[in-house]
Amino acid sequence: MSYLRIDHVDKTFSNGARATKVLEAVDLSVEKGQYVSIIGHSGCGKSTLLNIVAGLVAASAGGIVLENHQVDTPGPDRAVVFQNHSLLPWLTVYDNVRLAVDKVFAGKKSRAERHDWTMRNLELVQMIAAKDKRPSEISGGMKQRVGIARALAMEPKVLLLDEPFGALDALTRAHLQDQVMALHRTLGNTVMMITHDVDEAVLLSDRIVMMTNGPRATIGETLDVALPRPRNRLELASDPVYLECRRRVLQFLYERHHYVEAA
Protein backbone atom coordinates (compact mmCIF):
# COMPACT_ATOMS: atom_id res chain seq x y z
CA MET A 1 0.00 0.00 0.00
CA SER A 2 1.39 3.36 -0.97
CA TYR A 3 2.02 6.17 1.50
CA LEU A 4 -0.25 8.78 -0.07
CA ARG A 5 -3.00 7.74 -2.44
CA ILE A 6 -5.25 10.00 -4.46
CA ASP A 7 -8.10 7.63 -5.19
CA HIS A 8 -10.26 8.33 -8.25
CA VAL A 9 -10.88 11.94 -7.35
CA ASP A 10 -13.56 13.88 -9.21
CA LYS A 11 -14.29 17.54 -8.63
CA THR A 12 -17.31 19.39 -9.95
CA PHE A 13 -17.85 23.07 -9.30
CA SER A 14 -21.45 24.10 -9.69
CA ASN A 15 -22.45 27.67 -10.29
CA GLY A 16 -26.22 27.79 -10.14
CA ALA A 17 -27.54 25.39 -12.74
CA ARG A 18 -24.22 25.16 -14.56
CA ALA A 19 -21.84 22.50 -13.33
CA THR A 20 -18.23 22.25 -14.51
CA LYS A 21 -16.33 19.05 -13.98
CA VAL A 22 -12.80 20.21 -13.31
CA LEU A 23 -11.12 16.96 -12.37
CA GLU A 24 -12.09 13.49 -13.48
CA ALA A 25 -10.79 10.21 -12.14
CA VAL A 26 -7.45 11.50 -10.88
CA ASP A 27 -5.60 8.51 -9.52
CA LEU A 28 -2.10 8.70 -8.10
CA SER A 29 0.09 6.90 -5.59
CA VAL A 30 3.05 8.55 -3.91
CA GLU A 31 5.70 6.61 -2.00
CA LYS A 32 7.19 7.80 1.25
CA GLY A 33 10.06 10.24 0.75
CA GLN A 34 9.20 10.78 -2.89
CA TYR A 35 9.25 14.22 -4.50
CA VAL A 36 6.37 14.40 -6.94
CA SER A 37 5.61 17.36 -9.18
CA ILE A 38 2.30 17.97 -10.85
CA ILE A 39 2.63 19.96 -14.03
CA GLY A 40 0.00 21.26 -16.42
CA HIS A 41 -1.21 24.36 -18.17
CA SER A 42 -2.85 27.03 -16.06
CA GLY A 43 -6.50 26.36 -15.36
CA CYS A 44 -6.13 22.58 -15.61
CA GLY A 45 -7.13 22.12 -11.99
CA LYS A 46 -3.76 21.22 -10.50
CA SER A 47 -4.18 23.71 -7.65
CA THR A 48 -7.65 22.31 -7.02
CA LEU A 49 -6.08 18.86 -6.78
CA LEU A 50 -3.55 20.11 -4.23
CA ASN A 51 -6.31 21.79 -2.23
CA ILE A 52 -8.24 18.50 -2.20
CA VAL A 53 -5.17 16.68 -0.85
CA ALA A 54 -4.77 19.46 1.74
CA GLY A 55 -8.43 19.07 2.68
CA LEU A 56 -9.19 22.72 1.94
CA VAL A 57 -11.54 21.70 -0.89
CA ALA A 58 -13.78 18.66 -0.72
CA ALA A 59 -13.65 16.09 -3.53
CA SER A 60 -16.96 15.45 -5.30
CA ALA A 61 -16.12 11.76 -5.58
CA GLY A 62 -13.19 9.61 -4.55
CA GLY A 63 -10.86 10.48 -1.71
CA ILE A 64 -7.40 10.84 -0.25
CA VAL A 65 -5.74 8.10 1.78
CA LEU A 66 -2.66 8.95 3.83
CA GLU A 67 -0.93 6.10 5.65
CA ASN A 68 -4.04 3.91 5.40
CA HIS A 69 -6.34 6.60 6.79
CA GLN A 70 -8.78 8.60 4.75
CA VAL A 71 -8.30 12.36 5.18
CA ASP A 72 -10.94 14.89 4.17
CA THR A 73 -10.33 17.85 6.49
CA PRO A 74 -7.25 20.10 6.60
CA GLY A 75 -4.55 19.28 9.10
CA PRO A 76 -0.90 19.86 9.93
CA ASP A 77 0.00 16.36 8.65
CA ARG A 78 -0.43 17.87 5.16
CA ALA A 79 1.25 21.26 5.60
CA VAL A 80 0.85 23.64 2.69
CA VAL A 81 3.33 26.22 1.40
CA PHE A 82 1.06 28.67 -0.39
CA GLN A 83 2.05 30.45 -3.56
CA ASN A 84 1.66 33.87 -1.97
CA HIS A 85 3.37 32.77 1.27
CA SER A 86 0.28 33.57 3.41
CA LEU A 87 2.27 34.76 6.39
CA LEU A 88 0.27 36.66 8.97
CA PRO A 89 1.45 40.26 8.52
CA TRP A 90 0.92 41.28 12.15
CA LEU A 91 3.27 38.59 13.46
CA THR A 92 7.05 38.54 13.24
CA VAL A 93 8.87 35.85 11.29
CA TYR A 94 9.51 33.99 14.55
CA ASP A 95 5.90 34.30 15.73
CA ASN A 96 4.54 33.06 12.40
CA VAL A 97 6.49 29.83 12.80
CA ARG A 98 5.91 29.71 16.56
CA LEU A 99 2.13 29.90 16.05
CA ALA A 100 2.28 26.66 14.07
CA VAL A 101 4.70 25.02 16.51
CA ASP A 102 2.58 25.99 19.52
CA LYS A 103 -0.55 24.62 17.93
CA VAL A 104 0.87 21.37 16.58
CA PHE A 105 3.04 20.50 19.58
CA ALA A 106 0.79 21.78 22.37
CA GLY A 107 1.11 19.27 25.20
CA LYS A 108 3.82 17.30 23.38
CA LYS A 109 6.73 19.69 23.80
CA SER A 110 7.57 22.04 26.66
CA ARG A 111 7.77 25.80 26.18
CA ALA A 112 11.55 25.68 25.87
CA GLU A 113 11.40 22.78 23.44
CA ARG A 114 8.88 24.63 21.29
CA HIS A 115 11.19 27.64 21.20
CA ASP A 116 14.14 25.44 20.22
CA TRP A 117 12.08 23.71 17.56
CA THR A 118 10.97 27.08 16.10
CA MET A 119 14.59 28.23 16.00
CA ARG A 120 15.73 24.92 14.43
CA ASN A 121 13.30 25.36 11.58
CA LEU A 122 14.17 29.01 11.06
CA GLU A 123 17.80 27.92 10.95
CA LEU A 124 17.00 25.33 8.27
CA VAL A 125 15.90 28.14 5.95
CA GLN A 126 18.55 30.58 7.21
CA MET A 127 16.09 33.06 8.64
CA ILE A 128 17.47 33.38 12.17
CA ALA A 129 18.94 36.82 11.49
CA ALA A 130 15.56 38.22 10.39
CA LYS A 131 13.46 36.41 12.98
CA ASP A 132 12.13 39.59 14.58
CA LYS A 133 11.16 41.26 11.32
CA ARG A 134 7.61 41.44 10.08
CA PRO A 135 6.67 39.96 6.69
CA SER A 136 6.39 43.43 5.15
CA GLU A 137 10.04 44.08 6.00
CA ILE A 138 11.55 41.10 4.18
CA SER A 139 11.89 40.16 0.50
CA GLY A 140 9.61 37.80 -1.43
CA GLY A 141 12.15 34.98 -1.36
CA MET A 142 12.60 35.36 2.39
CA LYS A 143 8.83 35.27 2.92
CA GLN A 144 8.61 32.05 0.98
CA ARG A 145 11.44 30.59 3.08
CA VAL A 146 9.52 31.46 6.24
CA GLY A 147 6.46 29.81 4.70
CA ILE A 148 8.55 26.68 4.11
CA ALA A 149 9.92 26.80 7.69
CA ARG A 150 6.38 27.11 9.02
CA ALA A 151 5.27 24.08 7.01
CA LEU A 152 8.34 22.01 7.94
CA ALA A 153 7.92 22.89 11.62
CA MET A 154 4.61 21.02 11.61
CA GLU A 155 6.52 17.80 10.82
CA PRO A 156 4.04 16.98 8.09
CA LYS A 157 3.68 13.53 6.58
CA VAL A 158 3.32 15.21 3.21
CA LEU A 159 4.59 18.67 2.32
CA LEU A 160 2.33 20.35 -0.22
CA LEU A 161 3.91 23.11 -2.29
CA ASP A 162 1.50 25.21 -4.36
CA GLU A 163 3.68 26.86 -7.03
CA PRO A 164 6.03 27.94 -4.25
CA PHE A 165 8.47 29.74 -6.53
CA GLY A 166 5.91 31.20 -8.95
CA ALA A 167 5.98 34.74 -7.62
CA LEU A 168 9.78 35.03 -7.41
CA ASP A 169 12.35 36.38 -9.84
CA ALA A 170 14.51 33.86 -11.69
CA LEU A 171 17.65 34.20 -9.55
CA THR A 172 15.81 33.99 -6.23
CA ARG A 173 13.84 31.06 -7.61
CA ALA A 174 16.97 29.08 -8.49
CA HIS A 175 18.45 29.79 -5.07
CA LEU A 176 15.29 28.65 -3.29
CA GLN A 177 15.00 25.53 -5.48
CA ASP A 178 18.49 24.53 -4.38
CA GLN A 179 17.51 25.08 -0.76
CA VAL A 180 14.39 22.97 -1.10
CA MET A 181 16.45 20.20 -2.71
CA ALA A 182 18.91 20.34 0.18
CA LEU A 183 16.07 20.23 2.73
CA HIS A 184 14.45 17.29 0.98
CA ARG A 185 17.79 15.49 1.05
CA THR A 186 18.33 16.12 4.78
CA LEU A 187 14.80 15.56 6.02
CA GLY A 188 13.50 13.02 3.49
CA ASN A 189 10.01 14.54 3.36
CA THR A 190 7.34 13.31 1.04
CA VAL A 191 6.62 16.28 -1.21
CA MET A 192 3.88 17.10 -3.68
CA MET A 193 4.57 20.24 -5.68
CA ILE A 194 2.42 22.09 -8.18
CA THR A 195 4.37 23.84 -10.92
CA HIS A 196 4.12 25.05 -14.48
CA ASP A 197 7.87 25.25 -14.96
CA VAL A 198 9.34 22.31 -16.86
CA ASP A 199 12.93 22.79 -15.69
CA GLU A 200 11.84 23.11 -12.10
CA ALA A 201 9.83 19.89 -12.32
CA VAL A 202 12.70 17.89 -13.82
CA LEU A 203 15.33 19.34 -11.49
CA LEU A 204 13.45 18.72 -8.24
CA SER A 205 11.28 15.67 -8.79
CA ASP A 206 11.58 11.93 -8.56
CA ARG A 207 8.39 11.72 -10.55
CA ILE A 208 6.55 14.16 -12.77
CA VAL A 209 2.80 13.90 -13.14
CA MET A 210 1.50 15.59 -16.29
CA MET A 211 -2.09 16.71 -16.35
CA THR A 212 -4.29 17.08 -19.40
CA ASN A 213 -6.14 20.31 -20.04
CA GLY A 214 -9.39 20.99 -18.27
CA PRO A 215 -12.29 20.74 -18.02
CA ARG A 216 -12.38 17.06 -17.03
CA ALA A 217 -8.64 17.19 -16.48
CA THR A 218 -6.91 14.01 -15.46
CA ILE A 219 -3.42 12.56 -15.31
CA GLY A 220 -2.17 12.19 -18.86
CA GLU A 221 1.22 10.65 -18.21
CA THR A 222 3.75 10.15 -15.43
CA LEU A 223 7.48 10.22 -15.85
CA ASP A 224 10.13 8.91 -13.48
CA VAL A 225 13.19 11.12 -13.33
CA ALA A 226 16.08 8.71 -12.88
CA LEU A 227 18.70 11.28 -12.01
CA PRO A 228 20.97 10.64 -9.03
CA ARG A 229 20.89 13.05 -6.09
CA PRO A 230 22.34 15.44 -5.11
CA ARG A 231 21.61 17.17 -8.34
CA ASN A 232 23.53 20.12 -9.65
CA ARG A 233 21.74 22.40 -12.06
CA LEU A 234 24.91 23.30 -13.95
CA GLU A 235 25.96 19.70 -14.55
CA LEU A 236 22.43 18.67 -15.45
CA ALA A 237 22.19 21.29 -18.16
CA SER A 238 24.04 18.93 -20.50
CA ASP A 239 23.02 15.59 -18.96
CA PRO A 240 21.31 13.34 -21.55
CA VAL A 241 18.81 11.91 -19.02
CA TYR A 242 17.86 15.42 -17.92
CA LEU A 243 17.45 16.60 -21.48
CA GLU A 244 15.37 13.57 -22.39
CA CYS A 245 13.03 14.09 -19.39
CA ARG A 246 12.72 17.74 -20.28
CA ARG A 247 11.95 16.88 -23.90
CA ARG A 248 9.23 14.43 -22.90
CA VAL A 249 7.48 16.88 -20.59
CA LEU A 250 7.69 19.63 -23.20
CA GLN A 251 6.35 17.26 -25.81
CA PHE A 252 3.41 16.36 -23.61
CA LEU A 253 2.62 19.96 -22.80
CA TYR A 254 3.12 21.57 -26.18
CA GLU A 255 2.48 18.85 -28.77
CA ARG A 256 -0.18 16.60 -27.36
CA HIS A 257 -1.95 18.86 -24.91
CA HIS A 258 -1.11 22.34 -26.06
CA TYR A 259 -2.78 25.12 -24.20
CA VAL A 260 -6.10 26.22 -25.64
CA GLU A 261 -7.18 29.72 -24.78
CA ALA A 262 -10.61 29.59 -23.20
CA ALA A 263 -13.23 30.98 -25.55
Binding site: P74, F82, L88, W90, L99, S136, S139, M154
Partner: protein, 298 residues
Protein backbone atom coordinates in the same frame (compact mmCIF):
# COMPACT_ATOMS: atom_id res chain seq x y z
CA UNK B 1 21.37 58.24 -24.02
CA UNK B 2 18.08 58.55 -22.21
CA UNK B 3 17.55 54.83 -22.72
CA UNK B 4 20.80 54.05 -21.00
CA UNK B 5 20.00 56.11 -17.94
CA UNK B 6 16.62 54.45 -17.55
CA UNK B 7 18.23 51.06 -17.83
CA UNK B 8 20.83 51.89 -15.21
CA UNK B 9 18.13 53.12 -12.88
CA UNK B 10 16.26 49.86 -13.30
CA UNK B 11 19.34 47.78 -12.55
CA UNK B 12 19.98 49.86 -9.47
CA UNK B 13 16.52 49.41 -8.05
CA UNK B 14 16.53 45.65 -8.58
CA UNK B 15 19.95 45.07 -7.09
CA UNK B 16 19.87 47.48 -4.18
CA UNK B 17 18.16 46.26 -1.07
CA UNK B 18 15.63 48.68 0.40
CA UNK B 19 16.76 48.09 3.94
CA UNK B 20 20.37 48.80 3.26
CA UNK B 21 19.39 52.15 1.75
CA UNK B 22 17.35 52.91 4.87
CA UNK B 23 20.28 51.95 7.02
CA UNK B 24 22.59 54.15 5.03
CA UNK B 25 20.22 57.05 5.54
CA UNK B 26 19.98 56.34 9.26
CA UNK B 27 23.74 56.20 9.58
CA UNK B 28 24.31 59.37 7.63
CA UNK B 29 25.45 61.90 10.21
CA UNK B 30 22.96 64.72 10.28
CA UNK B 31 24.13 67.90 12.03
CA UNK B 32 22.00 68.48 15.15
CA UNK B 33 20.83 71.91 14.09
CA UNK B 34 19.66 70.60 10.73
CA UNK B 35 17.82 67.72 12.37
CA UNK B 36 16.02 69.87 14.93
CA UNK B 37 15.56 72.66 12.42
CA UNK B 38 13.43 70.33 10.30
CA UNK B 39 11.33 69.44 13.32
CA UNK B 40 10.84 73.02 14.38
CA UNK B 41 9.86 73.95 10.83
CA UNK B 42 7.34 71.09 10.75
CA UNK B 43 5.91 72.22 14.08
CA UNK B 44 5.41 75.78 12.91
CA UNK B 45 3.98 74.62 9.60
CA UNK B 46 1.31 72.72 11.54
CA UNK B 47 0.60 75.41 14.15
CA UNK B 48 0.87 78.76 12.42
CA UNK B 49 -1.86 78.46 9.73
CA UNK B 50 -4.68 77.45 12.13
CA UNK B 51 -3.59 80.24 14.53
CA UNK B 52 -3.81 82.85 11.79
CA UNK B 53 -7.23 81.59 10.68
CA UNK B 54 -8.46 81.57 14.28
CA UNK B 55 -7.27 85.13 14.82
CA UNK B 56 -9.03 86.31 11.65
CA UNK B 57 -12.28 84.59 12.64
CA UNK B 58 -12.19 86.01 16.18
CA UNK B 59 -11.56 89.47 14.75
CA UNK B 60 -14.47 89.11 12.34
CA UNK B 61 -16.72 87.89 15.14
CA UNK B 62 -15.65 90.81 17.33
CA UNK B 63 -16.52 93.27 14.56
CA UNK B 64 -19.92 91.69 13.85
CA UNK B 65 -20.99 91.64 17.52
CA UNK B 66 -19.50 95.00 18.44
CA UNK B 67 -22.85 96.79 18.64
CA UNK B 68 -24.33 96.88 22.16
CA UNK B 69 -27.66 95.72 20.69
CA UNK B 70 -26.26 92.55 19.09
CA UNK B 71 -27.97 89.29 20.07
CA UNK B 72 -24.75 87.33 20.60
CA UNK B 73 -21.81 88.31 22.80
CA UNK B 74 -18.51 89.33 21.21
CA UNK B 75 -15.25 87.51 22.12
CA UNK B 76 -14.17 90.36 24.36
CA UNK B 77 -17.44 90.21 26.26
CA UNK B 78 -17.12 86.45 26.64
CA UNK B 79 -13.67 86.94 28.07
CA UNK B 80 -14.72 89.62 30.53
CA UNK B 81 -17.81 87.76 31.74
CA UNK B 82 -16.68 84.13 31.66
CA UNK B 83 -12.91 84.17 32.07
CA UNK B 84 -13.22 82.31 35.38
CA UNK B 85 -14.57 79.31 33.46
CA UNK B 86 -11.65 79.47 31.04
CA UNK B 87 -8.90 80.08 33.57
CA UNK B 88 -10.11 77.76 36.35
CA UNK B 89 -11.53 74.57 34.92
CA UNK B 90 -11.44 72.71 38.23
CA UNK B 91 -12.99 75.02 40.84
CA UNK B 92 -15.63 73.72 43.26
CA UNK B 93 -17.90 76.40 44.75
CA UNK B 94 -20.94 74.31 45.61
CA UNK B 95 -22.80 71.17 44.45
CA UNK B 96 -24.04 72.82 41.24
CA UNK B 97 -21.29 75.44 40.89
CA UNK B 98 -18.40 73.48 39.43
CA UNK B 99 -15.60 74.21 36.99
CA UNK B 100 -16.16 73.06 33.42
CA UNK B 101 -13.28 70.57 33.75
CA UNK B 102 -15.27 68.62 36.37
CA UNK B 103 -18.37 68.71 34.19
CA UNK B 104 -16.46 67.43 31.17
CA UNK B 105 -15.00 64.65 33.30
CA UNK B 106 -18.46 63.62 34.53
CA UNK B 107 -19.71 63.48 30.96
CA UNK B 108 -16.59 61.57 29.91
CA UNK B 109 -17.24 59.04 32.63
CA UNK B 110 -20.69 58.34 31.16
CA UNK B 111 -19.19 58.14 27.68
CA UNK B 112 -16.51 55.75 28.91
CA UNK B 113 -19.16 53.49 30.37
CA UNK B 114 -21.60 53.58 27.45
CA UNK B 115 -18.94 53.51 24.76
CA UNK B 116 -17.04 50.73 26.53
CA UNK B 117 -20.17 48.57 26.56
CA UNK B 118 -20.88 49.45 22.93
CA UNK B 119 -17.32 48.50 21.91
CA UNK B 120 -17.48 45.04 23.44
CA UNK B 121 -21.02 44.32 22.31
CA UNK B 122 -20.46 45.89 18.90
CA UNK B 123 -17.34 43.89 18.12
CA UNK B 124 -18.97 40.62 19.22
CA UNK B 125 -22.13 41.34 17.25
CA UNK B 126 -20.07 42.43 14.26
CA UNK B 127 -18.08 39.19 14.36
CA UNK B 128 -21.31 37.16 14.31
CA UNK B 129 -22.74 39.19 11.44
CA UNK B 130 -19.45 39.01 9.53
CA UNK B 131 -19.03 35.26 10.00
CA UNK B 132 -22.54 34.03 9.39
CA UNK B 133 -24.27 34.61 6.08
CA UNK B 134 -27.60 33.96 7.77
CA UNK B 135 -27.08 36.42 10.63
CA UNK B 136 -25.94 38.97 8.08
CA UNK B 137 -29.09 38.64 5.98
CA UNK B 138 -31.33 38.70 9.03
CA UNK B 139 -29.72 41.50 11.02
CA UNK B 140 -28.20 43.87 8.48
CA UNK B 141 -31.50 45.48 7.33
CA UNK B 142 -32.42 46.00 10.98
CA UNK B 143 -29.06 47.67 11.70
CA UNK B 144 -29.36 49.90 8.66
CA UNK B 145 -32.73 51.18 9.87
CA UNK B 146 -31.84 51.51 13.56
CA UNK B 147 -28.58 53.34 12.94
CA UNK B 148 -30.44 56.26 11.37
CA UNK B 149 -32.53 56.86 14.52
CA UNK B 150 -31.26 60.09 16.15
CA UNK B 151 -29.75 59.62 19.64
CA UNK B 152 -32.37 61.68 21.47
CA UNK B 153 -35.25 59.67 20.00
CA UNK B 154 -34.08 56.78 22.19
CA UNK B 155 -34.18 58.84 25.38
CA UNK B 156 -37.91 58.60 26.26
CA UNK B 157 -37.87 54.83 25.78
CA UNK B 158 -34.79 54.39 27.90
CA UNK B 159 -36.15 56.71 30.61
CA UNK B 160 -39.30 54.60 30.68
CA UNK B 161 -37.28 51.41 30.86
CA UNK B 162 -34.65 52.44 33.42
CA UNK B 163 -36.67 55.01 35.43
CA UNK B 164 -33.48 56.89 36.18
CA UNK B 165 -31.53 59.48 34.23
CA UNK B 166 -28.01 58.03 34.74
CA UNK B 167 -28.51 54.60 33.12
CA UNK B 168 -30.74 56.22 30.50
CA UNK B 169 -27.97 58.55 29.38
CA UNK B 170 -25.57 55.61 29.21
CA UNK B 171 -28.05 53.60 27.18
CA UNK B 172 -28.42 56.47 24.71
CA UNK B 173 -24.64 56.54 24.23
CA UNK B 174 -24.55 52.79 23.86
CA UNK B 175 -27.29 52.61 21.27
CA UNK B 176 -25.89 55.55 19.30
CA UNK B 177 -22.31 54.39 19.08
CA UNK B 178 -22.82 50.66 18.59
CA UNK B 179 -23.93 50.70 14.92
CA UNK B 180 -20.75 51.92 13.24
CA UNK B 181 -18.78 49.48 15.41
CA UNK B 182 -21.02 46.55 14.42
CA UNK B 183 -21.07 47.43 10.74
CA UNK B 184 -17.33 48.07 10.42
CA UNK B 185 -16.39 44.95 12.37
CA UNK B 186 -18.67 42.88 10.16
CA UNK B 187 -17.03 44.28 7.02
CA UNK B 188 -13.58 43.62 8.49
CA UNK B 189 -14.44 40.03 9.35
CA UNK B 190 -15.96 39.42 5.93
CA UNK B 191 -12.77 40.75 4.35
CA UNK B 192 -10.39 38.34 6.14
CA UNK B 193 -8.33 36.98 3.23
CA UNK B 194 -9.02 33.36 2.31
CA UNK B 195 -5.26 32.77 2.74
CA UNK B 196 -5.48 33.41 6.48
CA UNK B 197 -8.51 31.15 6.73
CA UNK B 198 -6.55 28.43 4.93
CA UNK B 199 -3.64 28.82 7.33
CA UNK B 200 -6.04 28.55 10.26
CA UNK B 201 -7.62 25.45 8.72
CA UNK B 202 -4.28 23.70 8.16
CA UNK B 203 -3.26 24.49 11.75
CA UNK B 204 -6.70 23.37 12.97
CA UNK B 205 -7.18 26.52 15.06
CA UNK B 206 -10.36 26.27 17.12
CA UNK B 207 -12.98 29.04 17.14
CA UNK B 208 -11.45 30.76 20.12
CA UNK B 209 -7.92 30.72 18.68
CA UNK B 210 -9.23 31.81 15.29
CA UNK B 211 -10.99 34.76 16.94
CA UNK B 212 -7.92 36.01 18.83
CA UNK B 213 -5.11 35.09 16.47
CA UNK B 214 -6.60 35.68 13.03
CA UNK B 215 -9.92 37.49 13.16
CA UNK B 216 -9.21 40.34 15.57
CA UNK B 217 -5.76 41.28 14.16
CA UNK B 218 -6.94 40.96 10.58
CA UNK B 219 -10.10 43.03 11.13
CA UNK B 220 -8.42 45.50 13.50
CA UNK B 221 -8.09 48.37 10.99
CA UNK B 222 -11.84 48.14 10.25
CA UNK B 223 -12.74 47.76 13.93
CA UNK B 224 -10.80 50.88 14.84
CA UNK B 225 -12.47 52.86 12.07
CA UNK B 226 -15.79 51.85 13.63
CA UNK B 227 -14.60 52.74 17.14
CA UNK B 228 -13.44 56.14 15.97
CA UNK B 229 -16.79 56.97 14.42
CA UNK B 230 -18.48 55.51 17.50
CA UNK B 231 -16.60 57.63 20.01
CA UNK B 232 -17.48 60.78 18.05
CA UNK B 233 -21.16 59.83 18.05
CA UNK B 234 -21.05 59.07 21.81
CA UNK B 235 -19.79 62.53 22.50
CA UNK B 236 -22.53 64.04 20.34
CA UNK B 237 -25.13 61.94 22.12
CA UNK B 238 -24.07 62.64 25.69
CA UNK B 239 -24.21 66.40 25.36
CA UNK B 240 -27.71 66.18 23.90
CA UNK B 241 -28.89 63.60 26.42
CA UNK B 242 -27.59 65.57 29.42
CA UNK B 243 -29.50 68.65 28.33
CA UNK B 244 -32.66 66.67 29.03
CA UNK B 245 -31.63 64.45 31.92
CA UNK B 246 -29.89 67.09 34.06
CA UNK B 247 -27.17 66.36 36.58
CA UNK B 248 -23.59 67.55 36.55
CA UNK B 249 -22.48 67.01 32.94
CA UNK B 250 -21.40 69.59 30.39
CA UNK B 251 -24.66 69.19 28.42
CA UNK B 252 -26.79 70.20 31.36
CA UNK B 253 -24.49 73.14 32.01
CA UNK B 254 -25.37 74.55 28.58
CA UNK B 255 -29.06 74.08 29.17
CA UNK B 256 -28.79 75.68 32.60
CA UNK B 257 -26.81 78.61 31.18
CA UNK B 258 -29.44 79.15 28.50
CA UNK B 259 -32.21 79.19 31.10
CA UNK B 260 -30.37 81.78 33.15
CA UNK B 261 -29.38 83.81 30.08
CA UNK B 262 -25.61 83.33 30.51
CA UNK B 263 -24.75 83.28 26.81
CA UNK B 264 -20.98 83.82 27.24
CA UNK B 265 -20.81 80.66 29.39
CA UNK B 266 -22.38 78.66 26.58
CA UNK B 267 -19.66 79.74 24.17
CA UNK B 268 -16.97 78.65 26.59
CA UNK B 269 -18.74 75.30 27.10
CA UNK B 270 -18.89 74.80 23.32
CA UNK B 271 -15.13 75.26 23.11
CA UNK B 272 -14.63 72.69 25.88
CA UNK B 273 -16.90 70.20 24.09
CA UNK B 274 -15.16 70.70 20.77
CA UNK B 275 -11.68 70.29 22.17
CA UNK B 276 -12.67 67.23 24.22
CA UNK B 277 -14.29 65.57 21.17
CA UNK B 278 -11.18 66.27 19.14
CA UNK B 279 -8.94 64.77 21.83
CA UNK B 280 -11.18 61.68 22.14
CA UNK B 281 -11.00 61.13 18.38
CA UNK B 282 -7.22 61.47 18.39
CA UNK B 283 -6.84 59.08 21.33
CA UNK B 284 -8.84 56.33 19.62
CA UNK B 285 -6.99 56.96 16.36
CA UNK B 286 -3.63 56.73 18.15
CA UNK B 287 -4.59 53.48 19.89
CA UNK B 288 -5.73 52.16 16.53
CA UNK B 289 -2.49 53.12 14.83
CA UNK B 290 -0.54 51.40 17.60
CA UNK B 291 -2.70 48.27 17.64
CA UNK B 292 -2.81 47.76 13.89
CA UNK B 293 0.89 48.29 13.34
CA UNK B 294 1.93 45.87 10.63
CA UNK B 295 -1.61 44.55 10.17
CA UNK B 296 -1.72 45.70 6.57
CA UNK B 297 -1.06 42.82 4.21
CA UNK B 298 2.08 43.17 2.17
Amino acid sequence: MTMQITKNDLVDTTVADDRSIDELYARRRVPLVEKHGARIRAFFAAIVPPMIVLAILLGLWQLLCLAPSSALPSPSRIWSEANDLILHPFFVAGPQDLGLGWRVLTSLQRVAFGFGLASVAGVLLGVIVGQSQWAMRGLDPLFQVLRTVPPLAWLPISLAAFRDSYPSAIFVIFITSIWPIVINTAVGVRNIPQDYRNVAAVLRLNHFEFFWKIMIPSAAPYIFTGLRIGVGLSWLAIVAAEMLTGGVGIGFFIWDAWNSSRLPDIFVALAYIGVTGFVLDRIVAAIGALATRGAQAS
